[in-house]
Each structure stands twice: as C-alpha cells, then as structure tokens.
C-alpha cells in the first residue's frame, strides 16, 4: 500500500464516524464524541504524515466511479500544496472546534446528533478539498450545503434557527444553480470535467466567447457559498446555530470553500471575469464592514467581519493573486475560529447573553478568553507581526499593483475592521460590567480554553511559517519568496512598502477612532452622530427587507399559482379521473373472482377459446 492511499482514509473516516454514530451510538455520548473527534484528529495526523513523507508535490489518485456510454466519471483525489494546506486547515482548525464542542455542547440533549452532523460536515468539506473534477466537487459542494443546513438548524425547535437554516440552504442553492450551469457549459464545450485535463487543454482558449460567461457562472457558486454580495444575507442569520458551528462553518471551512474553489479553478477565469470578481469582493468587504460597525450582537459582529474578510479574499483572487487569497484564507481560519470560540466562551459564561452592551469588564473575570480574543483581534486588524498583517498585506500589495481604486477601498476596509473590532473589545471586555450577569461571569473550563490557546498561537505565527511561499510556489513559480524567519517578517516592507505602511496607518486610525468613541462609553454614541446612516447600517442596509419585497414576493406568487394548478388541474382533474377509473376497474374485475370453481373452469375454457380464435380465426 502506498502512502497516498491514506488519503482515502482521511476522507472517509468522518463519514464512517457519522454513520456509526447515527446508527448505533446515539444514546452513548462519550463514544459518539470519541468517534467524531477521533476521526478528524486521525485525519489531521494522516495529513501531517502525508506532508512529511510525500512532500507538497502535486499527485492524483482515482478510481473509475461510473461510466454511462461515453461519459466516464472518475472519483479522484487531488493532492497538491493547495489541497494539502486546506486539509491541514480543515482537520486542524476543525479538530480544535470538535474538542471545544465537547465542552460547549456538554448538556445538550442532542449531543450525539451534533457530533454526527459535525462529522458529516467534515466529510463533505474534505470532499470539496480533495475533488479532482467538477462533478465530484459539485456533489460534495451540495453535501456541505445539506450538512450546514443540519448544523445551523441544530436547535430546530427554535423558529429563528429553523428559518436561518432554510435561508442558508436556499440562498446557497441560488448560487449553486449558476455553478451547475457553469459546469454544464464547460462540459458541453470541453467534454471533460477533470481539473488537470481542463488546465492542460487550455480551457479559456477552447471556450472562446463563452469563457467569461462560464467563469462568472462558476463564480456564482462561490458567491453563494462564500456569502458575497448579493447572496451575503444568509451568513449573519446562520449565527443561530450553536457557536462551534459558527466557528466551524462560518469562519474556517464552509465559507472558505468558495474561495478555495476559485483558486482551484483559477485557470478558467478570463481577465474580464477576474475584474468582476475583484469588484464584487471589494464591494462585499466594504458593505459588510460598514454593517459590522453598528451591530450589537457579539456573534453578528464577527459574522459581518467574516463577510468582510471573505470579500478581501475574493478581491485577492480577482486581482490575479490567488496565492494572496489562499494565504488570507488560511490565517483568517486561525484567528476567526479563535474569535468565534472566544465569543462562545463569553456566551457560556453569561448564560447565552450575546448583546455586547450587556457585557463589560470581562477582562478580569475571564483572563484567558480575553487575552486570546485580544490576539485574534490584533491579528484580524493586521498588526505586525501577527499573521493577519502578512496576509492582508499580500492582498493590499496586489491591489496596489493592479487597481488603485480597489487599493483605497481595501485600506478603508482595514481601518473599519480595526474600528469595529476594538469597539467590540472596549465595550465587552474593558470598562466596568453593565449587568449583574457580567459581574458573575467566570472563566470557562479547560476543554474550552485549550483550543483557544492553540488557535492563538497559530494566529500569531501563521504569517511567518512559510504558508505564503507555499501557495506562491504553486500559482506563481517564478516569483521570489523569502525564506527564513526574519526575511519573512520584513518582506512586506521591502516588497510593497506603500501597502504595508497604509495597512498599519489604517490600523492606527481605526484604533484611535474606537478609543475616542468607545473607551468607557455608556451607550453607543454613533447613532446620534450619523443619524440615518447609522440606522441603515444597523438594519444591514435593508437588504433583507428588499429581498422580502421583491424576490420572495415574486417567488411566493409563482408558488401560489403553481399550487393552484397542481391542486385543481393536475390533482383534481387529471389524476382524479385516472385514479377513479383505475380503482373502479379493479373493483369490477374483482367480481369475476367469485370463488366458484365452475365459473373458473368456464372462464378458463372461454379464455382458451379466445386465444384459439385470436391465432387461428383469421
């Protein structure tokens, strides 16, 4: 058995765990948790082994899955720097979140079900990461949709959670529809869905005029999954799920799938398509950052922050540097998972209170949570030498090189990011407690804080451990990349000093504004100062209301018409007639079966006579 065969194990262990938990161990909490955590941690260990012994080189393994006529579909796994790094992120960050769930979900009656869903989700996500063709990726793409539906709606007895799950699923489906059309266009023109084949056959040239359209349709999938404008509305609502789910899905993995997919099929995008992608990313980043400024729910602030950072990554891809997008994706997975888990720790301590204006003074009560949260905040804000600085700088440098307008936008978003994150920190952790509950809070147990510590370390060093060089080597082999710790640390200032110093300046501006407005603030001063703009931000620029009034209303009326047609014309008239007729015939024929032997014999002979006449009578 060669080493690569382990990849199958990495992929299918979580599925196995999910299956066993669902079928056998729903009542046994410790076993369920062990299976689920064991599966993902084994996956992490195996990935490390793969990298240790096999290196980062690209390789593929596949088995023939089905062949219908000329169409053959392989079930293949693709291993290269991109997917191996993503494997590490999914199993590593995911593993930390699995362990954290052990504490967070301890008293939940659906404990085992939760771990089964987590494992199913991990399986689907690993499937996307390892897919070597579009069809397989699409299948796992949908599986991620399904498992995220199960996780977001985990507390389905809460109406808001059920609605949020539905909203996430349906919004994702809108994007997936475009994704599927894009795949079909590619298959119709090129006759293959295998990434390696598409790349070597020069897909853009063969697609010709359809190339931009095809690329943008593929991008639709990422718009849905990575929650880009205009399909961003599902992500904040999805915070209804348990906090580990928010961390897993909405920080580290699911939303990253869109960006990952863009990088995986980067060769398929024309320059025009990339421009559109960059602008959509930039716009999403700005929009979400503005909204985040006026949110009061700790998880929603983080949710909009995620949206904003995803916009950054997409913008990076659109600016011809997928390596920057992937770099930011990786570091973001570390510190955003950290922030979400830290928020979860706060939420447990305050008995499920999520309003930051009812917190305050938590620094002294929850020191570990505070300091790790602080690390996450600084990393997100892009402070040198934490990981966020380097990845953000890579994107800003790309923007500075390709599009000055987007560069300005990126710097503004960076300032806003610092502002809203420090608003959160000042209000929730510093100052004095605003409610008695905040006064009674105390630090979370070890199983919760240890994942925080691990992720904090990753957030600090993530920028200087060679991740950038790894991705850079894959997408842009010619460019020079620094090696050695010190070289990496000062590389941004040598390579693109404008971008680096702009980023730091943005941090300073944001920090100063937040300190000025929120240090020891009793209530939010912004609504008075900004008036209508603040209300619009707080209400998420009325996107939900807009969709409610247009898309959903149109959809509802179409549904009502279809319902009427189905009920009265198809069901009532067509089916009613057929069913009634069939039923009547059945009952009539039953009368023939009298049970009387003489009748049977008579009908028997009559039947024979009939057959004789049929054959010989003509």
């Amino acid at each position: 058995m060669n080493l690569e065969a382990l990849t199958w194990l990495i992929l299918f262990l979580p599925l196995l765990a999910a299956g066993i938990i669902t079928l056998f161990t729903l009542r046994n909490k410790p076993v369920s948790a062990t299976l689920s955590i064991g599966a993902i941690c084994t996956g992490f260990a195996l990935t490390l082994a793969l990298i240790k012994f096999g290196g980062w080189d690209a390789r593929e393994l596949s088995v023939n899955w089905l062949s219908i006529g000329d169409l053959t579909v392989d079930f293949g796994l693709k291993l290269d720097a991109l997917s191996l790094m993503m494997l590490l992120v999914v199993t590593g960050v995911g593993g930390a979140i699995h362990i954290y769930s052990l504490g967070y979900m301890r008293d939940d009656p659906g404990f085992s079900r939760f771990f089964a869903c987590l494992s199913l989700f991990t399986f689907s996500m690993l499937g996307i990461v390892l897919a070597n063709n579009f069809l397989q990726m699409f299948i796992f793409w949908e599986l991620v949709g399904v498992s995220s539906y199960l996780l977001i709606g985990f507390w389905f007895e809460k109406a808001s959670a059920a609605d949020a799950a539905k909203k996430a699923f349906i919004t994702n489906r809108l994007g997936d529809f475009g994704f599927m059309l894009g795949i079909l266009i590619i298959f119709a023109t090129l006759g293959s869905l295998n990434f390696a084949k598409l790349e070597s056959n020069d897909a853009i040239a063969t697609l010709g005029g359809m190339a931009t359209l095809g690329g943008l349709l593929i991008f639709c999938g990422a718009v849905g999954k990575s929650a880009q404008f205009p399909l961003h509305v599902w992500l904040p609502d999805a915070m209804e799920g348990p906090t580990p789910v928010s961390a897993l899905i909405h920080a580290a993995t699911m939303v990253a799938a869109g960006v990952y997919m863009l990088c995986r099929v980067f060769f398929i995008f024309t320059p025009d398509a990339l421009t559109v992608i960059a602008w959509i990313g930039g716009f999403t980043a700005l929009l979400a950052a503005l909204i985040a400024v006026q949110q009061n729910d700790i998880k929603r602030i983080l949710a909009y922050s995620t949206l904003s950072q995803l916009g950054y990554m997409v913008m990076g891809v659109g600016l011809h540097s997928p390596e920057a997008g992937m770099f930011h994706l990786t570091t973001h997975a570390f510190f955003k998972a950290l922030l979400f888990l830290g928020a979860g720790s706060v939420i447990i301590a305050l008995h499920h209170e999520q309003d930051i204006w009812k917190m305050g003074g938590l620094r002294k009560k929850m020191p570990v949570t505070f300091w790790t949260f602080m690390v996450g905040t600084l990393a997100l804000a892009g402070v040198w030498p934490l990981s966020g600085f380097f990845s953000k700088d890579a994107i800003l440098a790309a923007a500075h090189e390709h599009n000055l307008l987007l560069f300005g936008l990126g710097v503004a978003v960076a300032a806003l990011t610092t502002f809203y994150m420090f608003r959160l920190v000042f209000v929730a952790f510093l100052g004095s407690e605003r409610t008695p509950e905040a006064g009674h809070a105390h630090e979370s147990p070890g199983v919760v804080v240890w994942p925080l510590r691990i992720l904090a370390v990753a957030s600090v060093i993530g920028g200087v451990i060679g991740i950038e060089a790894l991705f850079g080597g894959m997408f842009n082999a010619d460019a020079a990349h620094p090696h050695g710790l010190l070289a990496q640390m000062i590389y941004p200032f040598q390579n693109a000093p404008v971008a680096a110093f702009s980023g730091l300046a943005a941090f300073a501006v944001g920090l100063f504004a937040a300190w000025k407005l929120y240090a020891n603030a009793k209530s939010d001063p912004l609504p008075e100062k900004l008036g209508a703009l603040s209300r619009a931000m707080a209400n998420r620029f009325y996107f939900d209301e807009l969709y409610e009034a247009t898309v959903i209303r149109i959809h509802d009326s179409i549904a009502a018409i279809a319902d009427w047609i189905d009920r009265w014309i198809i069901e009532g008239f067509c089916l009613g007639l057929v069913r009634g007729g069939t039923d009547l015939t059945g009952r009539a024929l039953r009368l023939v079966q009298t049970g009387n032997l003489q009748t049977y014999a008579f009908l028997f002979v009559l039947g024979v006579a009939l057959v004789l006449w049929f054959v010989l009578g003509k």
Partner: protein
C-alpha cells in the same frame, strides 16, 4: 444411458426418500432438525453445482435418447430451484408448528417437487415435459392442502386439483395433436420440421393447447383464475414455493418449447405474446388494488409478474430472454423475503389481513425493513433487484419497437402496470409504518436459520440491483442455447 448426467436429480430424489425414512426413527421433537438437514444438503448441492464435480459441469451432453439435456439454460434454472428450495425449507421449519401431522412428509414433498423442477429444467421432449410437470403439480396438490384442518386449505387444494387437471388435459391433448401431425416427440427433431407445419391448423391447435398447460403453470391470462384462491389458502411455505419454483419451472419449459422446439412458429406469434403479456400485467395489477389479504395480494402481484416475465418472451430476442432470467433471479429473493415475513408476522392470526402488519416496525425493525424492501423491489424502484430486471425487460421490448409498433404499446402498458402496482405495494408499506392502531406490540422471535434466510434474500436483492454483472452474464450464457 448417461446416468452421471442425472446425478443431481438422483441425489435430490434420494434425499426425499431419506427424509421419509428418517422420519420413522426420529423422535417427534427432533423432526425439526430434519428440515434443516434437508436444507443443508440442498445448500451443499447448490454450492457443488458451481464446481466441476457436479453434473451441471457436463454442459452440452444429453441422456435417454435426447430426452434429457444439460445446457446453460438448464444449469441456470437448476441452481435457481435449489436455492429456492433451500429458502423454502428453512421457512417450512419455521412454519412447522402450524402443521398438525406429518411434518417430515411436508419436507420430503418439497424435495420431490424440487426433483420435478430439476427434471423440467432439462426436459427436451414431450414425455419428459409432461412427466416433470405432473411430478411438480401433483406434489403441489398435496402441499397446498397440507394443513387439512383448515377449510381454506382444502378448498384451495381442490380448486388447484380440478383446474390443474383441466389444464393437464389440454396439454396432453395438445401433445397428442402435435405428435399426430408432425410425428416428432423430441424438441430438437421437432425444430427441424416445425417450419413445414407453421400453417397446419391442426398442428397449431396442438401447440396452443400445450401452451395452455404451460400458461396455467406460470399463471398467465386467461389461465390465471386459480392463483389468488390457491395462494391464499395454501400454507405459506407452499405459496412461496408455488410463486417462485413452480412458476419458474413453467417458465423454463415455456422458453424451451417456444424457442427450441418450434422457433419458426413462435416467430409468427409476436402479437399473441404481446397481447397476453399486456393483459396479464394489467389484470394482475388492477385486481390487486382492492385486496386486503396479503397472500391474495401477492397472488395477483404474481400474475402481474408473470406478465412482466412474458415481456422478455414476447420480445423474441435473446436480450429479452436473458432479461427474463435475470428478472426471475430478483423475483426469487424478493418473493421469498415477502412470504417469510408474512409467515413470521401473521403466525398467531387467523387471517392474513394487511392490518396485521400494524406496528411491525416496533415489533421487529428487521422484518419491517425486509418487507418494505421486498415491496420496493417488486415495485421496481432502484437500487433493488426489481428495478434492474424491469429496466432490462423494457429495454429489450423497446428495442423491438422498430420492427413492430405493438412493442411500444406493450412497453407503455408495462409502465402503466408499474405505476398501478406502486399504489398497492406502498399500501403495504403504509400499513407497516403509519397504522393508527397496533393491537399487538410484542417483539417477534426468530430462529437463527430464518434470520440467515432473510439475510440471503436481502443480500440478493441488493446484489442484483447494484452489481448486475455476474448474474447477467450467467443469464446471457444460459439463453445462448435457445434457437431463437
């Protein structure tokens, strides 16, 4: 004389006699083991049929002056019958507490019926055909009314006897006519001259009368009248064997007669077969709709399945024939599974009403799942055996549509039949899972062998549905020996 060729048949007959003899010395409480022992021996014979030691390996040889042939077709069916008999014997042991006296005779009669079926698979002339079919039918007369304390069983036996005698009369008359006109008794020799008689009315008269006898066995329209009454009245293991073994025996004889003995005549009869197949499908499915009695419902459903099997015959191609063989394979596992569940669940009830299934998913999830899967497979839903079988049959029929538009009508009728059948099959599933009142919620106990039998049936259903390759190759090889 080539006695080694019939070694399998001789072993089976010897087994039947041994079971009868052993009965004399075995104490009453040990007689149950006799059924298991017989099943085990047949199981070994089944496994042995895949080795080179068995007479099944002597393909292409014949014995008794060409009366008895061994070819791919006969071997396919012999394995089929052996497997069916093993499963039915296990079921019979499970059922034995409801047989008042002579349990061992019941087992040995099953074994003798099996011997008849094995001979039928190899029958290559009219004498062999008639003798084997009578061996099967007469043992079934007894098997049907074996629980003679019950009026329904006696009534079923009498009806089967009288109608069976009627059909035998037709058949023997037909054989006489064919022999009288053509002077041939052996199928191979008849095939040489059949073309000359293709317009001889007396000859055709005889052929049709023989088909009446065979049609009676497989319960094709218009000779299906006996089926529901006999299925309902007979003890459940008998019904299972009747539905699977007896029908398949009629089928192998029909295939051999139509395609080996009189290929030229059959080639003209596409339309007749189309009409018979279509009417059989519709009749079986329509009549099943109002049924509440499970065994009666399966009786009508077995008529419908005879119709589906006839699709493969009507197609007049080897693709159709192999599809029919494949379908029979799936039908074996599915039908036996259904009857096993019925025998176990309705053990303490007098009637076999659908309502007796209420709450089954709580009493025994395994049985509930088995019956559900059996119904789903009978209805022809992927990924189970019934789906792939129906797919192959319809494919064979539609491929013939270019020659005769009637085939398109036939395929359409078959699809309509499938849709109708969904209604009553899912009625059964609904009774299992969504019944309002469940009077009895006690768990159902099962012996280890019957669990194995259920396991075999389930595995067979999935295996044929998911990995059709192996059995399809066997079926393709089997029909190579037919002349049309």
């Amino acid at each position: 004389m080539n006695l080694s060729l019939i070694s399998l048949e001789m072993s089976v007959v010897a087994l039947g006699i041994l079971v009868l003899l052993a009965d004399l010395w075995l104490p009453a409480e040990r007689k149950k083991m006799l059924g298991y022992a017989a099943a085990a021996v047949l199981g070994l014979l089944f496994l042995n049929s895949f080795t080179s030691h068995c007479s099944c390996a002597l393909i292409g040889e014949s014995a008794f002056g060409g009366m008895f042939v061994q070819d791919g077709l006969s071997v396919f069916f012999k394995r089929f019958f052996l497997l069916a008999a093993v499963l039915v014997l296990v079921l019979a042991v499970e059922f034995s507490d409801r047989i008042a006296a002579g349990v061992s005779e019941y087992y040995s009669l099953i074994v003798f019926a099996l011997a008849g079926m094995l001979f039928a698979a190899s029958a290559n002339d009219f004498a062999m055909l008639f003798v084997s079919i009578e061996l099967i039918t007469i043992t079934f007369y007894v098997l049907t009314s074996f629980t003679r304390g019950k009026v329904v069983a006696l009534e079923a036996g009498v009806k089967y006897l009288i109608l069976g005698a009627l059909s035998s009369a037709f058949m023997i008359y037909g054989i006489a006519l064919v022999w009288g006109t053509s002077g041939q008794f052996n199928f191979n020799e008849l095939a040489i001259v059949a073309g000359d008689f293709a317009s001889n009315r007396l000859f055709l008269f005889g052929v049709l009368f023989i088909l009446v006898g065979l049609g009676f066995k497989i319960a094709a329209f218009p000779l299906q009248m006996w089926t529901p009454d006999v299925y309902q009245g007979a003890p459940t293991p008998t019904t299972a064997f009747l539905a699977v073994g007896s029908k398949a025996a009629g089928f192998v004889l029909l295939l051999r007669f139509l395609f080996s003995a009189i290929p030229e005549v059959t080639a003209q009869w596409g339309n007749l077969l189309i009409v018979i197949s279509a009417v059989t499908i519709l009749y079986g499915n329509l009549c099943a709709i109002p049924q509440r009695n499970l065994k009666r419902l399966l009786g009508y459903s077995s008529i419908a399945h005879a119709g589906y099997l006839l699709l493969g015959v009507a197609a007049l191609t080897s693709a159709g024939q192999s599809a029919a063989l494949y379908y029979l394979g799936g039908y074996l596992f599915t039908t036996v599974a259904a009857f096993v569940v019925i025998a176990l669940v309705l053990r303490h009830l007098d009637s076999e009403d659908v309502s007796g299934l209420a709450g089954l998913h709580q009493r025994s999830p395994l049985l509930a799942a088995t019956l559900t899967l059996a119904m789903v497979s009978l209805a022809g839903i992927p990924p189970l055996a019934g789906f792939f079988g129906k797919f192959l049959l319809l494919k064979a029929v539609i491929e013939q549509g270019a020659n005769n538009p009637g085939y398109y009508c036939l395929a359409f009728t078959a699809l309509v039949g499938v849709v109708i059948s969904l209604y009553y099959y899912f009625g059964v599933i609904r009774a299992i899972y969504w019944s309002q009142t469940a009077p009895d919620l006690s768990p159902i106990r099962m012996s280890r062998p019957i669990q194995c039998a259920i396991g075999v049936c389930l595995a067979g259903m999935f295996w044929l549905g998911l990995f059709p390759g192996t059995v399809l190759t066997l079926a393709d090889d089997a029909v190579k020996f037919l002349k049309l």
